[in-house]
Symmetry: C2
Subunit: 548 residues, 2 copies
């Protein structure tokens, strides 16, 4: 079936959303690289001219015009080489658009295919913007037929079973036209375990149709979504033969004439989450023009992890850690915070909370006596946020939020307090995974002081407070959270795992009741199949009861 020969570059690149001028320049430079590598064709990810996801920018006419202009600007740079690039096409008589791939060569658009299966799951709202194109066809290029499929996440359903959402009929329709290869242009955000799912399905499709499959994916982070790249090529037996870098830009070249030996599948481990979060934080800052971050470091494990990620993402010289001990802070907290900052080499300041706290106690209690109520607990977190935002406003450093997924889930945090920040760096990381990540960071030497890893978690907002006074043990909590939030598991499944109904209902009710706090969260870097934010849209005011 495969006659001719072709050298194809897969350019996994990092666009900035809406930065047409910049994206075009970056695309041109990759076209040049592909040319230098002797390629016939260079392939870019889904919506590569725009950057994915542009959300409602797609509704603005001026935006769409700029996108069309960007495509024209690219044309003069396609002399002697084919360029397959993602953009949008207006549709006569419709307010919706096609999500399109354009094939360019020698200054002309020589082919176009449109996305033919729309996706409306998770954070994706294809139907809000796009119209499905039922007319599936191959693109012709230099005598070969290319079976181009545009898809972000059509590779799998929310549980990773590839069967249901796989556009099988699209593959079949393309197959009927005898393509030389399948090319999947994707903007598929990462979550832990996803790469294996993609590889399994791509391999399965290549093998089934005995046609090589090229998967090219966007890389870089846009708001909450982290794109890992990890482009792949499978031969006609479904064997992996080429693999792009993960969490970095890369170009991989597939030569149809060459004989490739199968290579080993890339194994995901905890380091992928770490690298993803580093990329997520770096792109959030750099793409919005910020260099410097600050965060409150409490001596606890969450802020320790975020400090490490920040130092890696921005450079230690660009990170300020502020410790704001209160009368309830333990000595070890202050020491651990300082030690952490020293180990990381980040700037460190200590600002005592006491004078501010005393002012509130006097104003509201009429004496220096505390009542020990919720108001007094929360005000400490809110004063800390005010101090941090004062520094942020004065020094132009962007505040990051250190809340983890477990506490965000059950509302164990202070709104306008520890939930403040421009980005919730570990807001999709369960507490048990926070420990795993910290152990990964400490794998060679002690960066996070060991004491932070072994002491019992505490908010230290009242004397001798411990998280487990208010919450079930994190091992139980995290397991139920994962089942409920990520897997949408019914209660019966949780019971089957041995959890008591009372514990389950307690946790589920805590989650539902905390929705109002989550509505005001900063964007959460997504590293699981279901992060808080646009991926999970819940009413605040509702009375569904988790009990009989």
């Amino acid at each position: 079936m495969w006659g001719g020969s072709m050298k194809i570059a897969l350019a996994q690149f990092n666009p900035v959303i809406g930065d047409f001028e910049g994206n075009v320049q970056r695309i041109i430079s990759r076209i040049q690289s592909a040319r230098e590598l002797g390629c016939d064709l260079v392939v870019f990810p889904e919506l590569s001219l725009i950057g994915y996801p542009p959300y409602d920018l797609l509704i603005q006419k001026d935006f769409i015009e700029s996108c069309q202009k960007a495509l024209e600007d690219l044309l003069p740079h396609t002399k002697g080489i084919g360029v397959l690039v993602g953009g949008v096409a207006a549709i006569e008589g419709s307010e919706k658009l096609f999500n399109s791939a354009f094939l360019l060569e020698d200054g002309k658009i020589i082919g176009q295919v449109n996305k033919n299966v729309l996706d409306d799951l998770d954070y994706i709202d294809d139907s809000r913007y796009f119209q499905e194109d039922k007319g599936t066809h191959c693109l012709e290029f230099r005598g070969l037929k290319l079976g181009v499929i545009i898809s972000g996440d059509l590779w799998m359903d929310s549980k990773g079973s590839c069967i249901k959402y796989c556009p099988e009929d699209i593959f079949m329709k393309l197959y009927d036209q005898s393509p030389a290869m399948f090319i999947n242009m994707a903007a598929s955000p990462y979550h832990y375990t996803k790469q294996k799912m993609r590889a399994d399905l791509a391999s399965c499709m290549a093998d089934k149709y005995h046609i090589p499959l090229l998967f090219v994916n966007q890389v870089g982070a846009n708001d909450e979504l982290i794109f890992d790249g990890s482009s792949m090529v499978f031969d006609s037996k479904g064997q992996l033969i080429l693999h792009g870098k993960s969490f970095e830009e890369d170009i991989i070249v597939f030569d149809s004439n060459q004989n490739y030996n199968p290579i080993e599948e890339v194994r995901e481990d905890i380091s992928w989450i770490y690298k993803g979060l580093v990329l997520g934080m770096r792109d959030y800052f750099h793409k919005s023009g910020f260099k410097k971050a600050l965060l409150g470091i409490s001596g606890g494990i969450d802020s320790a992890l975020v400090a490490c990620i920040a130092a890696e993402a921005l450079g230690r010289e660009n990170v300020l850690g502020v410790s704001m001990p209160s009368r309830y802070s333990s000595e070890h907290s202050k020491n651990d915070a300082r030690k952490l900052a020293e180990n990381l080499g980040i700037e460190y300041r200590e600002i005592p909370l006491e004078p501010f706290f005393r002012e509130y106690i006097r104003a509201f209690n009429g004496t220096d006596q505390t009542l020990g109520d919720l108001a007094e607990e929360n005000i400490q977190a809110r004063i800390r946020a005010s101090i941090l935002m004062f520094i942020s406003n004065r020094e132009g450093k962007m505040l990051v939020c250190c809340s983890n997924k477990s506490e965000i889930a059950v509302g164990y945090s202070t709104l306008y307090g520890d939930s403040c920040g421009a980005l919730a760096v570990i807001g999709d990381v369960l507490k048990t995974q926070v420990y795993e990540l910290c152990r990964y960071i400490n794998r060679e030497k002690e960066i996070i002081p060991e004491n932070i890893l072994i002491k019992a978690p505490s908010a230290e907002l009242r004397p001798n407070q411990k998280d487990e006074d208010s919450l079930p043990p994190y091992s139980v909590l995290d397991d139920i959270l994962q089942m409920y939030i990520e897997e949408n598991a019914p209660v019966i499944d949780m019971e089957r795992k041995g959890y008591e109904r009372q514990t389950i209902f307690r946790i589920l009710n805590m989650i539902d009741r905390a929705e109002y706090k989550r509505r005001q969260l900063p964007p959460v870097l997504k590293i699981t199949s279901k992060a808080f934010g646009l991926s999970r849209r819940m009413p605040i005011v509702q009375r569904f009861k988790w009990s009989e």
Copy 2:
């Protein structure tokens, strides 16, 4: 075409999302009322068993089971009367659902139709949850054919032109089966000018097919969406003959045997927005079990308006206004705030900001001298939020946010400061409309002190600050905001209205740059065609340039 005779009750009722037990009870009591009124059939709105919009609750299996159980619980209460109620139906082999209308009678389900045109505009994500049902058919009831159409917002497009999104082919398919009437079961949230659009389209359809049209709509607010009810009946000439109350529960009865005279179209005016906001605030509080509200009252117009709405929604005895004057507050501000509270009869407290402010100045400046920078401006708003949240936590009162749409749009507000609160009551009201609403409130006597209405708006965060030092005049700003946000107008249209490119670009860039603040906003009560929140999904980090 119309043979038999029938008496039909349209029950516009106010469900609580997910409160199956309560909703079923409320539905039963309305069935009883319809029975007492001698009706053959009672019709409820779209998804009436569940309450609209349930968002991702629809993804939980346990939730769907409870919904099916609720339908069964309703069956025994349908002796001798037809009940047309909205719910969902699971689909064999699919993770999606049908958005269905069930016709019940004498303990049995005797008919079912499913929504046949899905909507993915604005806040609506039908495709995320539902599958389209192409098999359009009439329901048979007591010898009559009912052409039932389930639709939230299919009546119009975003600009109010009814043609494009009107499911004309659905009407035609139903018409081919000779229905005695069209019945539109809706959950259509209100925005200003919408009722006229609905009436125009419904009238046009009834007239076109010479078939009466009954429109029954949900009433009550759920989070940001306010449903106005305003159910209507049109005769076969397209004349309005019955009209339900707006912003209240109601039952209207249509007797097919009776001769009706046409009634006058209901005219929307500013009072509709006021009533909508009152209902929105009341339901947000009461449905979540809160009785009491607090807010900061500054002596400015925004907090004055919110205080009036709160007093109306919750009762003046349930509202606390807190004035927190700073060294930059004018005398008139303090007086105006106190006077407003007196006029309204709400509780009033004054808590001076100075001691708290001084503490921050000392800690950060090392002296009592201020620098007059942004940090010092913002800290005042943040101290105010901390004070209000202290009271909220201690006294169990829910804080409401007083930010208006104009300042939210351009980011003229302090994150974690004046943007704090559980609900942004006037977050979809432009500043110029804030004045209109206040004049409406004062139409009979001075409730809002006149001085609040005439003085120049100021944040009073530095000496002699005025809004118009930092912003274009509100008349210009609001016009451009409306064109950009609500109408998605291209820049060229704004220029055609006589605005300078520089002014336009300045405003559009301010809007885009403030996205990070909006992401952390409380829910905004929606009263225009495009409110901030789920209706408008924008990336935070993006570089689309509004200039050439």
